[in-house]
């Protein structure tokens, strides 16, 4: 079974801090994704990566950046955290193509 592991289930940070969210998958998947989930808004795509060192902006990339130095790891970076970035963050991976995505359990991030 594919396992997607997010480094923290819960995280509390302060405004202005630089925040790193880490995601690791163990199935050699090409594609990895970061979403945020807010009540009533569903999942919104922040960034995705289809290969090492490759990335593409999703629907809401402002205030975020990503890093994919190794195939199995995809990091989401909040450059200067703000309160409107308080949310549930979900990481997912998939083999190439529009295949079903495998999700981690999410990180619930609170920015105070």
């Amino acid at each position: 079974d594919v396992k997607v592991t997010q480094s923290s289930r819960y995280l509390v940070k302060r405004t202005g801090e630089k925040v790193f969210l880490e995601c690791v998958q163990d199935m050699d998947h090409e594609n990895m994704f970061w979403y945020r989930q807010d009540p009533g808004l569903g999942l919104r795509l922040i960034y995705f990566s289809y290969d090492v060192k490759m990335k593409e902006k999703g629907d809401i990339p402002e205030g975020y950046s990503v890093s994919r130095e190794k195939k199995e790891r995809f990091s989401l970076i909040l450059e200067s955290a703000s309160t409107n970035q308080t949310s549930m963050y979900l990481c997912a991976s998939t083999p190439e193509g529009p295949q079903p995505q495998h999700f981690g359990d999410g990180t619930r991030l609170s920015i105070l």
């Binding site: 193509g97 529009p98 999700f103």
Partner: protein
């Protein structure tokens, strides 16, 4: 951009009843997928239906797709309390449109009363 919109937003039924959730989207798709999310957890893929398919079954799940109406439905038969979760549809476009990612709807919250 294409987007799946689920209907209803919330559904409460008794154990043993059937639950039907609907999804509408806006543009051409390669496939449509349904996911389930238990409270506080990640999403789990349930079923994928391709654009040239009209109906698909998996256990107690039945999915239909009507590309002319740009809509899909998920039917859960003989529901159980353990089916309580949020359900999302997600559409996959064609790679030549430049969008490689899925587009998720806002979900249907299903409550199955024991």
């Amino acid at each position: 951009s294409q987007q799946g919109e689920e209907d209803p937003q919330a559904l409460s039924i008794q154990e043993g009843e059937n639950a039907t959730m609907n999804c509408s989207y806006k543009t051409s798709i390669n496939n449509l997928q349904w996911y389930r999310q238990n409270s506080g957890r990640g999403l789990v893929h349930l079923i994928l239906i391709r654009s040239n398919e009209r109906e698909k079954h998996s256990g107690r799940l039945r999915v239909t797709l009507d590309t002319s109406k740009k809509s899909s439905s998920l039917l859960i038969t003989a529901s159980r309390a353990a089916d309580t979760a949020s359900y999302f549809c997600a559409t996959a476009g064609f790679l030549d449109t430049g969008r490689r990612a899925l587009t998720f709807g806002s979900g249907t919250r299903l409550q199955v009363q024991p």
